[in-house]
């Protein structure tokens, strides 16, 4: 579905991402984790073309993304940043309808099909009661859901999420992640997200990629990746990892900074 072939990213003289490769299969949820400044957000931004990479390539459905036009990409891939701001008087419905933009040419108006998709996206994100309210008047979790609804209306095959939970309280964090999982399970949407919380990454993803100083430190299923050794090596923390046989998901309990 999406293949990253040894890309390197450099800001001025500093190498931020070094020879990084991975690939994501259709229908997978992949989390990218790593300490602050490790380059995980940069990696995601370079896939979504916000940050240029100096070498390597990214292939979407077997096509080099540099050879695709932006509209073509926008119909397949959608990136949601950690913080978004809508114009203060924009309603949820209007925001979500922007998701149809890449599918329209300038003279085309919204059709009934478009409206169906918009309403479906609003329903899917449980915002039906809020659709006439302005995005600015919503709480953090609700507004994040509104932006996800806009992404849904775009009907992408791949959704990129850059720390989608950073500015939310705990229950809203899980609400957003549960929504992501629902979308993945029901529609087979492929998701790549950058997360901070190790337990969330372990709980909600099929595979986890660990980034350390711009390089791929590890990659695998949560139970392969989430080990006390990895956490000590990458995060400099002592921890206990419990493995829940029924759920097949590790649970991480952080203890103290490693000495």
């Amino acid at each position: 579905m999406l293949t990253v072939n040894s890309i390197s990213i450099q800001y001025e003289q500093k190498k931020v991402i070094n020879d990084f490769s991975f690939s994501v299969e259709e229908g997978e949820v992949v989390s990218i984790i790593g300490p602050n400044g490790s380059g995980k957000s940069t990696l995601l931004k370079s896939i979504s073309r916000q940050i240029p990479y100096q070498s390597g390539s990214v292939e979407l459905d077997g096509m080099n993304m540099k050879a695709m036009n932006p509209k073509q990409i926008a119909r397949k891939l959608c990136m949601l940043s950690q913080k978004n701001q809508a114009p203060s008087d924009m309603t949820v419905y209007d925001l979500v309808s922007y998701g149809r933009y890449p599918h329209k040419r300038w003279f085309e108006k919204l059709t009934n099909d478009d409206r169906d998709i918009i309403e479906w996206a609003i329903e899917k994100t449980h915002l039906t009661d809020y659709q006439e309210r302005t995005v600015a008047s919503l709480s953090g979790g609700e507004s994040q859901r509104a932006w996800i609804a806009m992404a849904l209306a775009q009907r992408p095959q791949i959704l990129l999420l850059d720390e989608p939970t950073t500015y939310l309280d705990i229950s809203h964090q899980h609400e957003v992640l549960e929504l992501v999982r629902e979308l993945n399970e029901e529609m087979g949407m492929t998701v790549i997200m950058v997360l901070h919380d190790l337990n969330q990454a372990a709980h909600y993803s099929d595979r986890v990629i660990v980034v350390q100083s711009g390089e791929k430190a590890m990659c695998g299923t949560p139970d392969q990746v989430m080990t006390t050794e990895m956490i000590r090596e990458v995060y400099r923390m002592d921890s206990e990892v419990m493995y829940n046989q029924a759920e097949r998901k590790p649970r991480i309990h952080l203890l103290r900074t490693a000495r």
Partner: protein, 328 residues
């Protein structure tokens, strides 16, 4: 803000501007009643003194005020979307003064090339816009502070050049003073016919720009994510905004604040969707400048105050009011 209501407000403002234009034709040292104006305009009267007053003096001036007001307001509205910043306006960003410097060079140093004034204004405006982008642009956009500072720098630079020009060409200066203050006095039909084709092109392009403006106002990331080439849109829309401001400067000189205040008023009245905000800015800009110009020539009669000065006197405090309400 319901859509039908916004549409109604836009249409009413256009009608209001037309009504104001008719009244403005009648105002002046010789008053002409509205029925007389219609008789003259539609040639039902048997040629009298009103013909001369209306067709040679008042009508061109009124039309010019409408055109220029619309141009500058649209220019401000576009710049605000493109720079993602409510303070972007052709005056504050220095586009107007950049254009003015180039026009002034022709006006004072090479008066024989008057027909190139619009082109010179466009070049000057583009130069100023480029400097502002270069100075104020950071990786994640333009902050209100840096836009003001960049604008101050460009305006100061242009002020210096204007000062220099006015010293070395002091003998020719009186003809330029009215122009520098943004006056619509004694322009006549020739200026209207000069600017109208350019303005119509600009308005048509603005109509096509509505959709792009609506996307780019969401921010670079969102626009790029929706499949737009953000840099290309930004450059094209900036050129359009500079074009509209520059042709206005070439025609009547510097008029500040229309490009800042009118889009704010428009946004307040019909919301921030450019589908309504753009035509609203156009109608309201035309109306505001017409009122300013008509006020300037009638209120203190026989003294005539250039519209630019009146706009500055009204615009300054409004600007402070916006700051107080922390709109930006």
């Amino acid at each position: 803000m319901t859509k039908s209501r916004s549409g109604l407000i836009v249409v009413s403002t256009f009608l209001l501007a037309i009504a104001a234009a008719v009244i403005a034709i009648g105002l002046g040292s010789i008053r002409i009643s509205v029925p007389d104006i219609f008789e003259t305009l539609f040639h039902t009267s048997a040629g009298n003194v009103n013909d001369t007053i209306i067709f040679n003096i008042r009508l061109p001036r009124v039309i010019l005020a409408l055109i220029i007001g619309a141009n500058i307001a649209i220019s401000g509205a576009i710049l605000q979307a493109v720079m993602g910043n409510p303070l972007a306006d052709p005056g504050l960003t220095g586009v107007t003064s950049g254009a003015a410097v180039f026009v002034l060079v022709i006006m004072l140093a090479k008066p024989e090339y008057t027909q190139f004034m619009p082109l010179a204004a466009l070049i000057g405006g583009m130069l100023a816009a480029t400097i502002v982008y270069a100075l104020a642009w950071r990786r994640n956009g333009i902050s209100p502070i840096s836009i003001i500072l960049a604008g101050v720098a460009v305006n100061a630079l242009c002020g210096g050049v204007v000062g220099y020009l006015s010293i070395i060409y002091s003998d020719r200066l009186p003809s330029a003073v009215q122009w520098m203050n943004g006056s619509l006095a004694a322009k006549g039909t020739s200026v209207v016919t000069m600017i109208l084709p350019y303005a119509i092109v600009g308005w048509i392009l603005s109509f096509f720009a509505i959709r792009k403006a609506n996307v780019i106002r969401m921010g670079d990331q969102v626009a790029a994510n929706l499949g737009e080439n953000v840099h290309r849109i930004r450059i094209l829309l900036s050129i359009l905004a500079v074009f509209l401001a520059a042709i206005s400067v070439a025609a009547i000189g510097m008029i500040g604040f229309v490009g800042l205040i009118v889009p704010h008023m428009a946004r307040f009245l019909v919301g921030s969707n450019y589908k309504y905000m753009m035509p609203m800015s156009m109608a309201l800009g035309a109306l505001v400048l017409l009122v300013a110009d008509t006020g300037g020539r009638t209120l203190f009669s026989p003294l005539e105050i250039p519209a630019g000065i009146l706009m500055a006197v009204i615009g300054g405090p409004y600007f402070l009011y916006l700051m107080r309400r922390s709109v930006f």
